[in-house]
Symmetry: C2
Subunit: 357 residues, 2 copies
């Protein structure tokens, strides 16, 4: 038995309410396995802007860096949408990722049999889909310099730089190959090397790293084709590795295969020994915040990813995942995944799946 | 009656065979309306590399610039895949677009009632979808400078620049607003302004141009969300305007709503009075080239777009589109869109729809 220090960032919108459910589930699952969790809450995003004027205050950075893992809900909302970019909630998220060097964003898109009809894609197309998208998270065009605005021939020009160095590609490629080895041993690297130099470098390095993983079947796909194949034949994919912006696009697209963003967790891992960030893929849904309508399952599954990848507590992870499955099997559904014949969770009896981990 | 000078670029793979069908249809449709087409063929892509060592030879550029419109089939193939980027077929395509300043790429994604079951998305989701994607085609990260490779701290670095200037955004925005005025009067501008400066500039300019189009309902969407909404609720979209790489990704994704790339035409238009480029969205499909299996309809529909947008011959365009509809209504299908109960076109009787424009 050990004590695990978790920094909890409830963020904005539905964040606080789904955090409550996830922590209840995590505490219970830990207790059953003799593991203790200590939670330190800190503000980020809009909540932090309101409290301190900064979407990622130094005090939050400090407790994140000191934690064993960071559990984040979601950030943002209409309220802060008109602020200049540098002061917006999103900037807090980007700075959090960067400050922890959380370079490998793992986004599973798994179609649960209970929800195979929830997708806009045909059941036979999505049934059995199990994709892991590995997105580079602290480089590429999100952070590339130079960036900004300039004046040229009397008009404004906006520019950003998409840049990758060999070591950045190599470390994310290794994460992806390692993940593929533990799964179906197929890896698809996605880039635009027929047009972009940065993608040619990406492809070269991935091919080099592949020599250390002879068992993994490596393929290469252009981003436009990948965006297409993900809908045409999603079962083709096992692990996908790609850069920051392409991963942003593909993982959101892939989320639709599952029918609900409310089900999808993610892990953003750093170097060994450093804390990772675990967060749902969905946003802060300000329109339904505070109404007890939000689906907490992505947050519970994010806590499970934290236990599995960040804390080496696979048994606690198993319990959390089993709790989610049990709630679904019992027919409980929030509005986003409601189907005929299913039931709304009863708030009075305690929100599932926290009741039974 | 007039004579129209068309530069025809059959390109590679299935290009020559679908070109033959499209020209036969175009000539017949023109004749019925008293319009004459004169075709000048020129090599591009792999065919041009084989003939001259250059994927876009000066002689091809010359006849393209001199034409009333350029009708292109498709380029590329395994054969040229290992050449360095600057000598590959794709580079010929990019240079063609740039040399004609074909800055506005119009890609309709229309779900034909006859093919509503061909998509991997549910019929009720795609039925009635009619989206026009307006993609900026000669700027952005495809052409931005600086670009290339450098050595830094003993390792290779690859980089590209995503850049837009006000005038570039303004002209593509105007094309999109004009198109929206002729359609459903809704325009969605797609960018990533919560992260990228180039996207903030994009958004600012689109908002400014919108003042000249008070009747058009303008919305803004981040590219990740757009990639998601395109599958979640495609009927939301009327006209979409976006930059070069985002448009590349979104238009390929949107093509899957229709069930077959073999059905999708595109137009790349330049300033008034300058020739545009009309081409199918699909690739050169080297695996089925020369077997009379390719679907020629996207190419026929590209010729129709040429007549409508480039030559101001709406009646010829109507005839070509009616011919496609007639062939589908008669139950003819190539392999890519084959459905139970439909028939293969009989080569002996002449490939439809060229028989009956
Ligand atoms: C909020 C935004 C900055 C962020 C991103 O683009 O990375 C989000 O879309 C995500 O994918 O986590
Ligand atoms: C072949 C390639 C360079 C091209 C592009 O990326 O523009 C293609 O994908 C397209 O969309 O026409």
């Amino acid at each position: 038995a050990a004590t695990h220090n978790i920094t909890v960032l409830p963020g904005d919108g539905i964040g606080p309410e789904i955090t409550k459910v996830a922590l209840k589930a995590l505490t219970a699952a830990g207790k059953a396995e003799g593991e203790d969790f200590v939670y330190t809450e800190a503000p980020i995003g809009g909540a932090a802007i309101d409290a301190t004027g900064d979407p990622y205050p130094a005090s939050t950075e400090e407790v994140c860096k000191a934690a064993d893992a960071v559990l984040l809900a979601c950030i943002g909302g209409y309220k802060w949408d008109s602020l200049p970019n540098a002061q917006r909630p999103e900037k807090g998220l980007l700075r959090l990722r960067s400050s922890l060097n959380a370079f490998a964003n793992l986004r599973p898109a798994v179609v649960l049999p209970q929800l195979a009809d929830a997708s806009t894609l045909k059941r036979e197309v999505v049934e059995g889909v199990d994709i892991l998208i590995v997105r580079e998270l602290v480089g590429g065009i999100y952070f590339g310099e130079p960036r900004g605005f300039k004046e040229e021939n009397g008009e404004r020009v906006g520019y950003n730089t998409m840049v990758y160095r060999e070591s950045e590609v190599e470390r994310i490629a290794r994460v992806a190959f390692d993940a593929a080895m533990k799964r179906g041993k197929r890896l698809c690297s996605v880039e635009k090397s027929n047009v972009l130099e940065v993608s040619q470098l990406w492809k070269d390095v991935v091919i080099r790293v592949a020599q250390d993983y002879p068992e993994v079947e490596l393929s290469h796909m252009y981003i436009d084709n990948a965006a297409m194949q993900l809908i045409r034949n999603p079962k083709y994919f096992d692990v996908v590795v790609t850069g920051n912006i392409f991963g942003d696009i593909l993982s959101d697209e892939a989320s639709m295969l599952t029918g609900s963003l409310g089900m999808l967790p993610s892990a953003s891992i750093s170097e060994p020994g450093k804390p990772g960030i675990y967060e749902p893929v969905h946003g802060s849904a300000p329109d339904i915040a505070g109404q007890d309508k939000a689906n907490p399952l992505a947050m519970v599954l994010s806590a499970a990813m934290m236990c599995r990848y960040g804390l080496n507590l696979p048994k606690v992870a198993d319990r959390l995942e089993a709790a989610v499955t049990a709630a679904l099997d019992a027919g409980y559904r929030t509005g986003d995944i409601m189907q005929p014949g299913c039931k709304q969770p009863r708030p009075s009896a305690g929100r599932h799946p926290s009741g039974s981990p």
